[in-house]
């Protein structure tokens, strides 16, 4: 029977491995999740086969937990999912803490190794729990999303860390319950303190980290009860969660350290003028996923396309998008570029069919139905100030109203202004994402994404 159980554990682990791998790619993600849940089922069934179990409590616990979990999961609004994940994650952490504690309660004189494992389970589980709670509160708006800072925070954290090490040593050597309780308290506190200073915008990364932690906590619990499926699954989650959080940081153009300990709050573009909102950078990869699903795409080329000589790449991207089922148009502003017809020359060179070229007046009325507008090195010709800001020197100039599109990607090298030298509020809008870099490179990267 034991052999069977262990074998089941191996199968479960393999299913987890496949599950995680498949979750990493869009086509297989859903199947991956199902496979990993199958693994979980197998693991649970296997452990239930352990001889000498008292099923009353188990069945009760499983039932209660399942109902709560299922109901919340069903009920939650799409928008509420991220915070729910945080909450669940916290539960997982707490569960690991409790498992460690329970083991100690049952066998209060653990070996040094087991003792260390207990501490780790409690510590990591505790941090995960309260950290996740804070993340949940911040995300759900029940707590201010802003970074909460107070003086001496760092010193305090250091102090706590020191205390934990000390208490851990005491516990391993003396098995004193008070040390354990103190550890539990401190770890819970540490979780709060660690997450509070981080801004709401960075919460996804924090959750990814906490998720990694909850995996490690499970792994530690596994060491406590000497169960290898816990160790494997926990460690898998621990490692992949860490990688995932690093990937997420990269996608935000930040480092992990910067997110966790860096200067907090929203970074505003150094435009020299006060504009509401912030310029939000995105990666070509993000853009790829949005473009992949887009039904209608409008390219708005400007002088930057000419400078980057990106026309051929743009043509290729347009072709790919078309064959992907999207309707593609090029909206040509009459003064885009530096001479009349500048964009025409370039697009004709790249053999963009004339049918795809649209005049400003034809494209503006339908702009609100456009899924994605890609602004390629254009600036003045898409500056909403021309319509909105009476004090602007270009007020009254007709522009291509890309800001009405559902999503706008603006390709620029940096924070440079256009011919008129004006700040462009488009770049600060909610629905605009900046793709920084030479336009040709950016487009080529996008093309590559589609080909992979």
């Amino acid at each position: 029977m034991d052999l069977l159980i262990n074998f089941a554990y191996i199968v479960a682990s393999i299913l987890f491995i496949f599950g995680i791998k498949m979750l990493g790619s869009a086509d297989t993600a859903r199947r991956g999740n199902q496979i990993s849940s199958l693994g979980m089922l197998i693991a649970v069934v296997a452990v239930l086969l352990t001889s000498g179990m008292n099923y009353t409590w188990i069945i009760a616990g499983l039932a209660i937990g399942a109902v709560i979990g299922a109901v919340t999961a069903k009920r939650v609004q799409m928008t509420g999912m991220p915070e729910l994940v945080a909450l669940f994650n916290g539960f997982g952490g707490l569960a690991s803490l409790l498992v460690g504690w329970a083991e100690y309660a049952a066998r209060p004189e653990p070996s040094a190794e087991t003792g260390a494992a207990v501490i780790l389970a409690i510590l990591i589980g505790g941090i995960t729990f309260t950290g996740s709670l804070i993340a949940y509160l911040k995300l759900s708006g029940k707590m201010g999303g802003n970074a909460t800072l107070f003086g001496g925070q760092k010193a305090l954290n250091a102090l706590i860390a020191l205390a934990i090490v000390g208490l851990g040593f005491v516990f391993v050597t003396t098995h004193a319950p008070w040390a354990l309780y103190a550890l539990i308290a401190l770890s819970l506190l540490l979780g709060v303190l660690a997450v509070i200073p981080i801004g709401g915008g960075d919460m996804p990364v924090v959750i990814a980290i906490l998720n990694s932690f909850s995996g490690l906590a499970a792994s530690a619990a596994g060491f406590v009860i000497q169960n290898n499926v816990l160790i494997v699954a926990g460690c898998l989650v621990g490692a992949s969660g860490l990688i995932l959080s690093i990937i997420m940081c990269k996608a935000m153009n930040r480092t992990l350290g910067n997110v966790l300990f860096g200067s907090f709050g929203a970074a505003t573009g150094n435009t020299g003028q006060a504009v509401e909102g912030e310029m939000k950078a995105a990666t070509a990869e993000d853009a790829y996923y949005v473009l992949e699903a887009a039904q209608s795409v409008v390219f708005v080329p400007g002088y930057g396309m000419a400078v980057a000589q990106a026309q051929h790449a743009v043509k290729e991207l347009a072709q790919i998008l078309e064959s992907n089922g999207a309707e593609v148009r090029f909206a040509i502003h009459p003064v885009a570029g530096r001479m009349p017809g500048h964009m025409n020359v370039l697009l004709a060179e790249a053999d963009v069919p004339y049918e795809q070229l649209a005049e400003m007046d034809d494209v503006n009325p339908i702009m609100s139905t456009v899924d994605v507008a890609i602004v390629i090195g254009a600036n003045d010709v898409v500056n909403p100030a021309a319509v909105e800001d009476e004090s602007s020197p270009i007020y009254g100039m007709p522009i291509i109203k890309v800001y009405e599109a559902k999503t706008v990607y603006a390709l620029k090298r940096g924070q440079g202004a256009g011919f008129s030298g004006l700040v462009n509020t488009l770049f600060f809008r909610e629905n605009t994402r900046m793709l920084y870099g030479d336009a040709k490179d950016t487009i080529t990267t996008l093309v590559t994404q589609f080909k992979d």
Partner: protein, 93 residues
């Protein structure tokens, strides 16, 4: 214990290698899905609440079991909902 450590190390490497380039749209589902997996502590909780002696242990185990089950069941279901949405969106075009 050494073997367990071995397993731990290998699993860690494997975790690193598995996640290579994840499209950003999948970040949240992936996080949510692996969160569900981290609910594997349910196995520990079952053992604690079913096989451990001592009242304290059982109570702790029982709470752990409820929490872990919420994590597992809720986690998988939420992930599935997310991915279903994602899928249908892809299916659209």
């Amino acid at each position: 214990m050494v073997l367990l450590l071995f397993i731990f190390v290998l699993a860690g490497f494997l975790g690193f290698e598995l996640i290579q380039r994840v499209p950003s749209q999948l970040h949240t589902p992936l996080m949510s899905g692996s969160n569900a997996i981290s609910g594997i502590t349910i196995v520990g909780a079952i053992l604690a609440s079913g096989a451990i002696e001592g009242q304290m242990g059982i109570i702790l185990g029982f709470i752990a079991l409820i929490l872990a089950t919420v994590n597992v069941v809720g986690g998988y279901m939420v992930t599935d909902r997310m991915l279903a949405m994602f899928h249908s969106k892809k299916g659209d075009k």
